[in-house]
């Protein structure tokens, strides 16, 4: 799994690679626009962080892309329009996500969790027979996420950080090339954050990874590009340095949220 390629802003593969293009994404909850007119363009090999104050609509963007909430606009993954498709169909097009609270199947072993994640395309004939051996892709994912020694333990006994890694491993074997991670390091220790960040860099080289995060230190250490959301709109986008220097971003994070948004809407 280890490659020399690192994720870089704008993607590391160039034109013709896999991409996710979000245009005019709007989520309307009975008149309240949780997300309005969001544009995002993500290329393979980009490790994009999605940041913003509470209620900025970061998770809602992920929910809309994965089909959990209805939205208008367009979400195009390498030529396929995802909006309007059912959740499990979108997942089969290679869009995987994690949740703020780790949601692995606690009664099943680590191996079983990964085997299920790898199996969405299985025929009934395969499903109705017993699992024998370990698929090479699962073996590889177990190494990547560092849980090879715990493969036969029930996921319920894993530490919080390990559960999050298992979730990321599930996305890997699911063959998702767009990974949407919702606060993957929340509640982790400093070492676990470090390891998670390195894990993201390793897997991000060959995929498009979007990380919703509150932890600014984590973002500075690992992001290759950053999109800042406030009040459901994109207010800034660029490298970490660009975004940090952006006065609008400073306003949103330092001033009151209300003042910041009014200014934004005026501009």
């Amino acid at each position: 799994m280890s490659t020399d390629v690192e994720p870089v802003a704008g993607g590391n593969v160039g034109m013709g690679s896999e991409y996710l293009e979000v245009r005019g994404l709007t989520v309307d909850f009975d008149g309240f626009k949780a997300v309005s007119e969001v544009d995002l363009t993500l290329f393979q090999g980009d490790l994009r962080f999605l940041i913003g104050p509470n209620g900025a609509g970061k998770t809602t963007v992920i929910d809309a892309i994965t089909g959990l909430v209805g939205a208008t606009g367009s979400v195009n993954k390498s030529g396929v329009e995802l909006l309007g498709k059912k959740v499990h169909r979108i997942a089969r097009f290679g869009v995987g996500r994690t949740f703020q609270t780790a949601s692995v199947f606690e009664q099943l072993t680590v191996l079983q969790n990964l085997d299920i994640a790898a199996g969405a395309g299985r025929s009934w004939w395969t499903l109705l027979r017993r699992r024998h051996g370990v698929l090479p892709a699962i073996e590889e994912a177990l190494e990547t996420i560092g849980l090879a020694g715990l493969a036969d333990k029930p996921a319920g006994v894993l530490a919080h950080g390990q559960k999050q890694w298992l979730e990321i491993g599930m996305l890997l074997v699911q063959n998702a090339d767009v990974l949407l991670l919702d606060e993957p390091v929340a509640g982790m220790s400093a070492e676990e954050r470090e390891e998670t960040g390195n894990l993201l860099r390793r897997i991000g080289a060959e995929r498009t990874v979007v990380v919703v995060e509150h932890d600014m230190d984590f973002m500075r250490a690992f992001a290759t590009s950053v999109t800042v959301l406030a009040r459901g709109r994109v207010i800034a986008e660029g490298t970490v340095a660009d975004v940090q220097a952006n006065p609008k971003v400073q306003e949103v994070y330092l001033g009151t949220a209300a003042a910041g948004t009014e200014d934004l809407e005026a501009s």
Binding site: T66, K86, V87, H88, A91, R92, G96, R97, F99, S103, V104, F105, E106, Q107, L108, Q112, N113, D115, I116, A117, G119, A120, G121, R122, W124, T126, L127, L128, R129, R130, R131, K153, P154, G156, V157, M170, Q174
Partner: protein, 367 residues
């Protein structure tokens, strides 16, 4: 090596069960008691399916009486027509008393043996698939699903009483004389019915075992514990649930079809809400997430009901209710969970600081 031992154990388990059911039971039990055991085995077939749908799939199937009743009534209709044909009569005896001289149209196909057997298998399957897809695709689950399935059982019981269906009203269908040409008054033929039920139970357990241990079984548990998460992995959980629900419906129908000739009658009271809950009690007491827990629980509860209600006619109902409450409240894994619990206590005694071991069996699954 381990799989070899495991396989050997499985075959040994089935062999022991076969010896008990086919050898020991007929040898030591009177014809009457063997008939009772046959009834319990029918309940156990229903329970095996409930264990799959409820224990592993998290679907609280409170209305299995519907499918049990479908199987029982379809078999009952065929037996009544066959009895009438033997006596060279146009319609079964109870219709003559009611003044009906012509067989109702929907009764007609059931004069065919092949049609009846096919319908017993196919009708519940089709109904369960359509119902399951309709319900699970709309993401109806939990208590709402339980109430819906229970309402169906209540509705069926009311429908069956309706005189325009010519199904014997609240008396149901009774007085079966023959079973596919074999006279039911002959103990040998009654024993044959028992053997069929025993064979069906072994088949049902084998099918449920395969489903539980396959990849599908793992997926079913995943759907039970995190339906939304499974969706984001690219599966449609509705399809996964429909399979377990349909298997449970099919088992219930086959069990009903055997139950009617074994007990000799079938009434709306045997397929309504109360029996539907009774099916569940045995499963809960035995241990709903295990393979054999529901089967043994159903047999034990049915046996206890017969034994105790012979001596304390009204007391047993209370005892059963109490047992149910105790199990649901304090032993969510049922009696099968007792072994695990004891093992953990023993380990705690012998080892001063045990590692945080998880329960090997699924305890306290959400419903």
């Amino acid at each position: 090596m381990r799989t070899f031992v495991g396989r050997w154990q499985t075959w040994a388990g089935f062999a022991v069960a076969a010896v008990l059911l086919f050898g020991v039971a007929p040898a030591v039990l009177s014809s009457f008691r063997l008939g009772l055991l046959g009834q319990y085995l029918c309940y156990a077939i229903v329970a095996a399916g409930i264990g799959l749908a409820w224990g592993r799939g998290g679907m609280l199937v409170l209305g299995q009486g519907v499918f049990f009743g479908l199987g029982a009534y379809m078999m009952g209709m065929h037996l009544k027509i066959a009895d009438a044909e033997v006596r060279k009569q146009a319609v079964p005896d109870f219709m003559q008393i009611a003044g009906t001289t012509k067989l109702p149209a929907f009764w007609e196909p059931f004069s065919s043996v092949a049609f009846t057997l096919l319908a017993i298998v196919a009708l519940p399957t089709v109904i369960a698939v359509l119902l399951g897809l309709g319900v699970f695709k709309r993401r109806v689950k939990g208590a709402y699903f339980a109430i819906l399935s229970q309402a169906l059982a209540a509705a069926l019981a009311i429908l069956l009483v309706n005189p325009s269906f010519h199904l014997g009203g609240s008396n149901g269908l009774n007085g079966f004389r023959t079973f596919f040409g074999f006279r039911l008054s002959d103990p040998v033929n009654r024993q044959m019915l028992y053997f069929i039920a025993a064979g069906m139970l072994l088949i049902a357990v084998a099918v449920v075992r395969q489903l539980m241990q396959s990849r599908y079984g793992e997926l079913l548990v995943a759907v039970r514990d995190g339906e939304e998460r499974v969706r984001f992995l690219g599966y449609d959980p509705a399809n996964v649930k429909v399979v377990a629900y349909t298997a449970a419906a099919l088992f219930a129908s086959v069990a009903g079809a055997l139950f009617a000739p074994i007990i000799g009658f079938i009434t709306p009271a045997q397929v309504g809400v109360v029996p539907s809950i009774m099916f569940l009690i045995g499963v809960a007491i035995g241990g709903r997430t295990t393979l054999l827990g529901p089967v043994l629980g159903a047999i034990a509860v049915a046996w206890a009901q017969t034994t105790f209600s012979e001596r304390f006619p009204s007391g047993w109902t209370y005892a059963q209710g109490l047992l149910f409450i105790v199990v649901v409240g304090f032993l969510p894994a049922g009696l099968a969970g007792l072994g695990t619990l004891l093992k953990r206590w023993r380990r705690r005694d012998t080892e001063p600081a045990p590692a945080p071991e998880p329960e090997p069996e699924k305890v306290g699954a959400s419903t």
